[in-house]
């Protein structure tokens, strides 16, 4: 699925059936293309993004907006911590935990 540049302004319809592998794939795609701006970067799912110096803390806000648009899950900013968002795996766990 091609990445939507900028993303839609409305929240996507909730897709409760989306499996974690798909969620991981879309997060990874977004991070490489939009945040690292290197679509080919071989990002591992357990690779530390913030403490590893790949993205900065300003990107947390962008990830929050993306997660809401792509998965219809609102992550309160108290959840947008380095501990919750440092790897793709941690992000998926945080989204699943927050999802109603």
């Amino acid at each position: 699925m091609p990445l939507r540049q900028g993303g839609p302004r409305h929240a996507a319809r909730r897709t409760p059936t989306m499996d974690t592998a798909e969620m991981r794939r879309r997060l990874r795609e977004f991070i490489c293309a939009e945040l690292l701006r290197k679509p080919d970067y071989p990002l591992a799912h357990d690779e530390p993004l913030i403490t590893g110096g790949l993205i900065d803390s300003f990107s947390l806000a962008r990830i929050g907006v993306f997660v809401e648009e792509a998965f219809a899950v609102y992550l309160p900013d108290t959840e947008l911590t380095v501990a919750n968002m440092d790897t793709v795996d941690a992000m998926v766990a945080c989204i699943l935990k927050t999802r109603p």
Partner: protein, 561 residues
């Protein structure tokens, strides 16, 4: 209504206001859950006096330097004003973020204490064990911020001792290289002169409400969004910087809730807000009364347009966007754009700027034309000149170093007379910034040295290179860091190019890059936008054998991809 600003010391203003309008709200702190805490003028004075009392009880007195290692909180503000109340000198240390290595951070505190001769450190309770160990044997009191805040108020606080208006009020530590931090010493007189001139330049009024997310260890946060409003009796709403970074919408909600009329934003914040504020954060938000001043890094025309397009529909007016040129050494502001702007935009020819160091006017549609946004005109009591390498003033539209003099300049760098002599010559402070004047307007184009300004923070490339030189696999002494413009983020992106110590395959290169990124992030909080690992002899050197940052930057930008 005209503000009363004829004080001799900063504390005098707080004492006077608490007597005159004790119940007037002085500041509101917005917590991460959007709950709020209001401090009235009398509460601010009481908590400052109580902190002063606690500091005095452990033997501290006028003239003692006190470092504050605390988070953005009521206690931090009380400790800052309490230290001032005692006639001692506060200095706010950047707060530990989740990204930094705590041990390295604590060592930076120790280095600062050792270099500055600080008499006390007030730190959060969780920092006390590690700091106790690190400061063992150092003649410096270590105080738990919670004890200082709680153990006070028992006895009636002492009167604030008389302090000369020429005495140093506080130190602002320049950001960047922590080990070599420069403490910018500011006298009460300089700060009060700045408050007077700058508040006039922006027509600050008692009906204004300043809303800020800026950190208090940075001049824009401390002066424009803490000291000035408190001295002038203008209401202040403070949001935690960490909160705003993660959720920029909090700024707009606070502006709406409190009738905010004024905020300061570094240029990158325009982009951050425009890209990451959700539509629902703007529901019911009316930005018509709100003014914003763009300062602390070069003002970008594109960011200005982006911000206006995003928030215009919520009522933001184009004339409400101002600009300012500022530095800690001048307390804060040097120039300001007119109150009902917008700042002037000067289209100039880029080739003439680069080749002849002249800003030649151009038509906007002309090829090679670039827009420069004016930083405004000098505020009262401040003179600005642009000088050539020989120190002589240059005519209008010629590019040179910006120098500043006036009644709000710093007293010198704390314990660094060697730096004073270099920075202040014949009464003029040499900023190291490059720019030009056109009439009274000042345009800032860049830096004389290789300093990189990222999101309003100064980054010294040699600090980053020193870290790279320690990374196994990189040839020591063969790494170079520089900034490149990042239009998407509205600031500079930091790039590192390093020569490999030996031939290295793709897997090895990946490991070296990861290690380099990790170390830079943990030690400096900088995120490298790009890392380029190259073979031996890629980097260009000067005739004296030093690595030429500018030439390598050009080579990086022109490399085939």
């Amino acid at each position: 209504m005209t503000l009363r600003l004829d004080y001799e010391t900063l504390v005098e203003s707080v004492i006077e206001r608490a007597g005159r309008e004790p119940r007037r709200p002085a500041l509101v702190l917005v917590a991460e859950d959007d709950s709020e805490q209001t401090l009235t003028a009398s509460q601010l004075l009481e908590s400052a006096a109580a902190h002063a009392c606690a500091l005095r009880s452990v033997g501290l007195g006028p003239g003692d330097l006190v470092i504050l290692v605390m988070r953005h909180s009521r206690e931090l503000l009380s400790a800052f004003w309490g230290t001032l109340y005692l006639g001692a000198i506060p200095s706010i240390f950047p707060f530990l973020s989740e990204k930094l290595d705590p041990q390295l951070y604590m060592k930076q505190v120790r280095t600062l204490v050792a270099h500055s001769g600080a008499r006390a450190v007030i730190a959060l309770p969780e920092f006390i064990p590690m700091l106790t160990e690190l400061l063992a044997g150092v003649d410096c009191r270590l105080l738990d911020s919670e004890h200082v805040a709680a153990g006070t108020g028992a006895s009636s606080p002492p009167p604030s001792p008389p302090v000369s208006t020429e005495a140093v009020a506080f130190l602002q530590h320049s950001s960047g290289s922590t080990g070599l931090q420069k403490g910018v010493a500011l006298s009460h007189r300089a700060v009060l002169n700045q408050v007077r001139s700058y508040s006039r330049a922006i027509a600050l009024d008692e009906s204004d409400v300043i809303v800020s997310w800026l950190p208090l260890y940075h001049d824009m946060g401390l002066i424009a969004c803490c000291v000035m409003p408190i001295v002038a009796g203008v209401r202040l709403v403070l949001i935690s910087p960490f909160h705003w970074v993660r959720e920029p919408g909090v700024l707009f909600r606070a502006v709406q809730r409190h009738g905010g009329t004024l905020s300061w934003l570094p240029n990158f914040a325009y982009n951050h807000c425009a890209r990451n504020v959700r539509e629902r954060d703007l529901e019911g938000v009316d930005l018509r009364p709100w003014r914003v001043i763009n300062c602390s890094e070069p003002v970008r025309y594109d960011s200005h347009r982006l911000f206006l397009e995003r928030f215009g529909p919520a009522g933001l007016r184009e004339t409400a966007l101002g600009s300012c040129y500022a530095m800690a050494e001048a307390t804060f502001a040097v120039t300001a754009s007119p109150v009902e702007g917008p700042p002037r935009v000067d289209w100039i020819q880029l080739p003439a700027l680069q080749a002849e160091r002249r800003a030649v006017p151009a038509a906007a549609e002309q090829p090679g034309a670039i827009p420069m946004t004016s930083s405004g005109t000098p505020i009262e009591g401040v003179e600005v000149a642009v000088v050539g390498d020989d120190g002589r003033r240059l005519p209008d539209r010629r590019l040179g170093e910006i120098v500043v003099r006036g009644d709000c300049l710093f007293s010198g760098y704390h314990r660094r007379p060697d730096l004073d002599a270099k920075a202040i010559r014949n009464g003029w402070y040499h900023t190291g910034d490059i720019g030009y004047r056109a009439g009274d307007e000042l345009y800032v184009t860049g830096r004389q040295d290789d300093l990189i300004i990222v999101g309003g923070k100064n980054v010294h490339p040699n600090d980053l290179e020193a870290i790279a030189n320690e990374v196994p696999g990189i040839h020591p002494g063969r790494a170079v860091a520089f900034g490149v413009p990042d239009g998407q983020l509205g600031t500079q992106a930091v790039v590192m190019v390093g020569e490999l110590a030996e031939e290295t395959g793709p897997e090895g290169r990946r490991r070296i890059e990861s290690e380099l990124r990790r170390r830079i992030a943990r030690q400096t909080e900088i995120t490298l936008a790009d890392v380029l690992l190259v073979d031996a002899r890629w980097l260009l050197k000067t005739s004296s054998g030093k690595i030429a940052r500018g030439a390598n930057r050009e080579k990086y930008l022109r490399r085939p991809r």
